[in-house]
Symmetry: C2
Subunit: 222 residues, 2 copies
DNA sequence: GTCTGGACTTTGAGTGCCCAAAATGACGGT
DNA sequence: ACCGTCATTTTGGGCACTCAAAGTCCAGAC
């Protein structure tokens, strides 16, 4: 009930994202600790707190799951985070590989009023600069069905829709190669032996991606 | 040395503003406590902290003064606060009477990078929506010499330059009467007995202000 | 010179969050 | 059944900030 501190907001958000990654499995304490950058004991005691306050269910030695109330807070934080990222890129012209940390702080400081003003200013967008969907104000998040570039058949035309890795070096690489969400490309080859996918963009020279990388680039049906 | 927490940032900013109000006198603990909304004992112990960490000088039973280093932090916070206020009003269209609290939170969350992007976006402005001067990135603050409306002679033409009261009700009144910074007006009467100043704006009906109010409205020379 | 009210300081305690390190539990291999 | 491993939990302690309430000081009144 009592409004969450910014630490709690971070926990709820990261638990939600971990749950999403794992297909709704309870999230282990180790995973929580890693996501939040704390020691496992800290995670355990914070999770007990979240449970006591009604945001999560805690099963010792199994993991945490958010309650409906917890999910609502988490989705609101994700909304804030992603709207802020988009705002920083589109309005203030910041580099999309550097905005994650900024949003990580700002998400706790913007009021609902400011957030809504930004949302309106941006024209009620539905995805952020990385292609991540932005939940609506009442906590609904559209899920597009996307495919990893690594799974597209050779010859397919595809449009980059989402980059599932916030690492700044990787994002910079994606940017340099012109692979940001929205870009159209053709899959030109697949070399399972070499663990690679070849692609071609409009003009520029063809490009080869390792499977590691091609898995992190999601495209609309191909 | 170690970077200030947001609590410390608030203390330094409020001490700076109090010092400014009092012509550089040391600021009493009671004043610090009132400005920060804490109990006096809390102020005393926090001030000792600031002193130990090199941001202030503390004379027991006298008051605090910022060191040069403390002033630099304070001016940076004031810069952040005022730039944010302007951004919220000019870019996001928020009501100027409601932005103070928003900026109070955001000032601790925006990075130097985001701040500079906003500054550029706004065209390197020199004053905020209330007419308060915005310190430069290196901590210089232009001081205009302004006069209280309550001290203008009858017949003078004057231009509103600054409103020295962040109270939301007062700001709303100022807004409703069309007295925001930039407005030009004429002083039509002074009634010391009635403790009032009469003014006329362009079209609208003449208006009478109590001295209380007229003191909080600063104008360019008159 | 003594008193006294009000400002200030000190003390003791609490909250929220964190870590280090010791204790515990569970699970697969033997 | 017994071990060892490794994740997890517990314990004890620390830091930053806060309040309540008791103690101290001082300026001005007398
Ligand atoms: Mn965050
Ligand atoms: Mn994103
Ligand atoms: Mn603040
Ligand atoms: Mn202002």
């Amino acid at each position: 009930m009592a409004s969450p501190t910014s630490t709690v907001e971070n926990y709820l958000k990261e638990i939600y994202l971990a749950q999403e990654r794992q297909g709704d499995q309870p999230v282990a304490m180790g995973e929580v600790a890693r996501s939040l950058g704390v020691v496992p004991g800290t995670a355990t005691s914070m999770i007990k707190n979240l449970a006591r306050r009604g945001w999560a269910e805690y099963s010792p030695r199994i993991g945490v799951r958010l309650t409906d109330e917890g999910e609502l807070v988490a989705l609101n934080m994700i909304r804030r985070h992603r709207l802020l990222e988009l705002f920083l890129v589109k309005t203030l012209g910041l580099d999309w590989s550097e905005i994650h940390e900024e949003a990580e702080q700002l998400e706790h400081a913007v009021s609902e009023r400011v957030l809504d003003a930004m949302d309106a200013f941006l024209g009620r967008p539905t995805s952020d600069p990385h292609g991540d969907p932005i939940p609506s104000a009442n906590g609904k998040m559209r899920q597009r069905k996307l495919v990893a570039l690594s799974r597209c058949r050779v010859g397919a035309k595809a449009k980059v829709a989402r980059i599932t890795d916030q690492d700044s070096d990787f994002l910079q690489f994606v940017e340099n190669q012109g692979l940001k969400p929205g870009t159209e490309l053709t899959v030109t080859s697949r070399l399972p032996g070499a663990d690679a996918t070849g692609i071609a963009l409009g003009e520029s020279a063809p490009l080869t991606l390792g499977t590691r990388a091609a898995e992190k680039i999601l495209v609309e049906e191909c």
